[in-house]
C-alpha cells in the first residue's frame, strides 16, 4: 500500500496533523508494532521504527496532507524504514534470511481482502498481528513475571515507567527486565505468531493466565496499602477484550472476558469508602454494575454453549474449559438478587466440574464453601477441615477467613477468633488487615461481653 495524500491534496494545518496523530492511540500503535514484530522478529527494531514513522509523519504531513488512512500510512512507512535498516546493517544478514522465511509464510494480500475466506485451517492468517504479540509475550520460554511485564509494555502499550509503577517494581529494575526479556525473545527466536492448532489450547491457556493474573493482582493486592488497583484491572479487561476481538470463536476467551466483567461488576460494592473490603455476603447489590453483569452473563452463556457443555444442567463434561466454568460461577452469583438467594447447589456443582478440569486446593476450597452454604455450617466445617492439611491452603488467607466465618456461624467464637488470628498472621494488603482486625475485635466483644 502506498502512502496516499488526501483527495483534496496540499498540506495539512498543524492542528489537522496534531489531531490525526492524537487519533493514533495505544491500540493503533500496538497494531503497528505488532505487524513489524511479526515481520522482523525483533521488538527493538519494531519499537524504533514505529517511533521513526511517527516522527516522519510530523515532518511529511504538513506538506502532503494527512493520508486517508493514517494508521496504514504509518505501518507502511515503518516497515520500509525497518527494511532499510535490515539491508543496511550487515550484522543483520541473519535476519534477512529469517525475513525471507516470514515472507514466504505470509498469506497473500488477497487473503486478507475477504475475512469470510478465513478458516480455522489457516492458523497464521490472523486478521490482526496483535494476536502474535500476545503469544510471543506469554511464551513459555519466558519467566512468568517477565510475561506479565511484556504484556503490559507491548500488548497493552504502557510505557516502561507505567509498567514499573503498575507492578510495584523500581523503574530501573523494570527497564533491565524488559531489555533482558527482549533479548531472550530475539536470541531464542520466539515467533510473533499464533501457534499451530495442536498447540493452540495449551498456549492460549498461557496467554489467558497472564491476563487473569494481571486482573487478580489488581483485584486483591498481595501487598501494599489499598485493596484494589483499578488501573491493573482496567488493563486486564482491555487485554481480554482485544483477545476476544481477535479470537471470537474461542469458548475460553469468551469465558475469561465474562469472568472478568462479572467480577468487575461488583467493584463498586467491594470496598467501603475508606477502601476496606466488603465480603460478598454483605455487599450492596444495588451498587453492582448492571451493564457489566448483562454483558458478562451473555459471555458466560456463550462460553458454555461454545464449549458444548450444558454447564447450567450440571452435566460433567471435562472438555469445558476452566474460564467458561468460572464465568458460570460468577454468573450464578450475579443472578442472585440477594446473598441468601444464591443458588449454592449450582455453584457446588460448577466447582465440582472445575475440580475435575483443574484440580487444586483453591478450587476445593470454593466447593467446600458452597457445600457449607447449601447444607449448613456444620457440613461446611467438615469439608473445610478435610482440606486443612493442604500446605498451600494453610498459608492461604481466604481459607482461614472461610473457617472463621463458618465457626462464627456455629457459635464457636473462641475457635473463630483463632482462625481470624491465623489469617492475620499471613501476608496480605493493609486494608484486608484492617477488615480482619475489625472482625476479630467484634468477636472479642462477643467473648468478653
Amino acid at each position: 500500500m502506498n502512502p496516499e495524500p488526501v483527495a483534496h491534496g496540499g498540506g495539512a494545518s498543524a492542528e489537522e496533523v496534531r489531531r490525526a496523530l492524537a487519533a493514533i492511540d495505544r491500540g493503533a500503535r500496538t497494531r503497528i508494532l505488532a505487524s513489524l514484530a511479526h515481520r522482523f522478529g525483533d521488538l527493538d527494531l519494531a519499537e524504533d521504527m514505529t517511533q521513526e514513522a511517527l516522527a516522519q509523519a510530523l515532518r511529511t504531513w504538513p506538506e502532503t496532507g494527512v493520508p486517508s488512512v493514517p494508521e496504514a500510512w504509518l505501518k507502511t512507512t515503518a516497515k520500509r524504514k525497518a527494511l532499510d535498516v535490515v539491508r543496511r546493517e550487515s550484522t543483520l544478514a541473519q535476519k534477512l534470511a529469517r525475513l525471507r522465511i516470514e515472507q514466504e509464510r505470509e498469506p497473500v494480500a488477497a487473503h486478507f481482502a475477504d475475512p469470510a475466506q478465513q478458516t480455522a485451517e489457516d492458523h497464521d492468517a490472523v486478521p490482526d498481528d496483535r494476536l502474535g504479540l500476545f503469544f510471543a509475550c506469554a511464551h513459555p520460554v519466558l519467566k512468568p513475571e517477565d510475561r506479565i511485564a511484556l504484556m503490559l509494555r507491548f500488548v497493552a502499550g504502557l510505557e516502561t515507567p507505567e509498567v514499573a509503577h503498575a507492578l510495584l517494581v523500581p523503574v530501573p529494575t523494570m527497564q533491565q527486565r524488559i531489555v533482558r526479556a527482549k533479548k531472550r525473545i530475539r536470541t531464542l527466536g520466539v515467533p510473533f505468531a499464533a501457534p499451530r492448532r495442536e498447540e493452540l489450547p495449551a498456549r492460549l491457556a498461557g496467554v489467558q493466565r497472564v491476563v487473569y493474573l494481571l486482573y487478580a493482582e489488581g483485584f486483591a493486592r498481595s501487598t501494599g496499602v489499598s485493596h484494589t488497583r483499578d488501573d491493573l484491572t482496567a488493563e486486564a479487561i482491555r487485554l481480554a477484550r482485544v483477545l476476544r476481538a481477535l479470537m471470537p470463536d474461542s469458548a475460553e476467551v469468551a469465558g475469561l472476558l465474562g469472568l472478568l466483567l462479572l467480577t468487575e461488576a461488583r467493584r463498586p460494592a467491594r470496598t467501603t469508602e475508606d477502601g476496606r473490603p466488603v465480603p460478598l455476603a454483605e455487599q450492596d447489590r444495588s451498587r453492582w454494575d448492571r451493564g457489566l453483569i448483562a454483558e458478562g452473563i451473555a459471555l458466560a452463556e456463550e462460553a458454555a454453549r461454545r464449549s458444548g457443555a450444558a454447564v447450567s444442567r450440571g452435566e460433567e463434561r471435562p472438555a469445558t474449559g476452566e474460564y467458561a466454568i468460572q464465568a458460570a460461577i460468577a454468573a450464578v452469583h450475579a443472578e442472585a438478587e440477594a446473598f441468601e438467594e444464591t443458588d449454592w447447589a449450582q455453584i457446588a456443582v460448577l466447582y465440582r466440574l472445575l475440580e475435575l478440569r483443574q484440580p487444586g486446593p483453591v478450587v476445593s476450597l470454593g466447593r467446600a464453601v458452597a457445600l457449607g452454604r447449601m447444607r449448613g455450617p456444620a457440613e461446611g466445617l467438615r469439608h473445610l477441615d478435610a482440606l486443612a492439611d493442604d500446605p498451600a491452603l494453610a498459608r492461604f488467607r481466604p481459607f482461614h477467613i472461610a473457617r472463621a466465618v463458618t465457626l462464627q456461624q456455629l457459635g464457636d467464637t473462641a475457635e473463630a477468633a483463632l482462625a481470624y488470628r491465623r489469617a492475620l498472621e499471613l501476608p496480605g494488603n493493609e486494608s484486608e488487615d484492617g477488615f480482619l482486625a475489625a472482625a476479630l475485635a467484634g468477636l472479642d466483644e462477643d467473648l468478653t461481653g
Binding site: 520460554v141 536470541t187 531464542l188 501457534p195
Partner: protein, 115 residues
C-alpha cells in the same frame, strides 16, 4: 534460525537399549523422521561417557590428559543435532518428538550463535 538439540542422558538411568531405557530403534526412527523433514544441518551420536577423555590444565597451567570414567559426571551429552528451522517453537516440537526427551533424559535446546 539454527538450534543445537543436545540429547542428554543421566548416568543413573537405564542406558539406551537397556531395560526401561529407550530402544535404539526409537532413535533410528526419530533420526529418519527429522532427516526426511530436511531440517538437519548436522548430527552426531556419541559413545558412552566412560569412554571420554578430557584435556585440561593443572594449577601450573600445564595441559593434562585424563581418561574416564569420571565419577563427577552426572549428566552427559549422548548425541546432538544442529537443525535449521523458523523459530523456537519448531525446535521445541522436534525436541518433544525425540526419544531423548522421554523419561530419564532431556533435550537441551540452544540457539547457535551467529558468529
Amino acid at each position: 534460525m539454527k538450534y543445537a538439540l543436545m540429547l542428554m542422558g543421566h548416568v543413573d538411568d537405564p542406558a539406551c537399549g537397556e531395560d526401561g531405557g529407550p530402544s535404539p530403534e526409537e532413535f533410528f526412527a526419530f533420526d529418519q523422521t527429522i532427516t526426511d523433514a530436511g531440517v538437519v544441518v548436522t548430527s552426531f551420536a556419541l559413545e558412552d561417557p566412560e569412554h571420554g577423555v578430557t584435556v585440561s590444565s593443572d594449577a601450573q597451567g600445564e595441559r593434562i590428559v585424563s581418561s574416564g570414567p569420571f565419577a563427577e559426571v552426572q549428566e552427559f551429552v549422548g548425541g546432538g543435532y544442529i537443525i535449521e528451522v523458523a523459530n523456537i517453537d519448531e525446535a521445541i516440537e522436534w525436541a518433544r518428538k525425540s526419544p531423548a526427551s522421554g523419561p530419564g533424559g532431556h533435550v537441551e535446546i540452544r540457539p547457535v550463535a551467529p558468529y
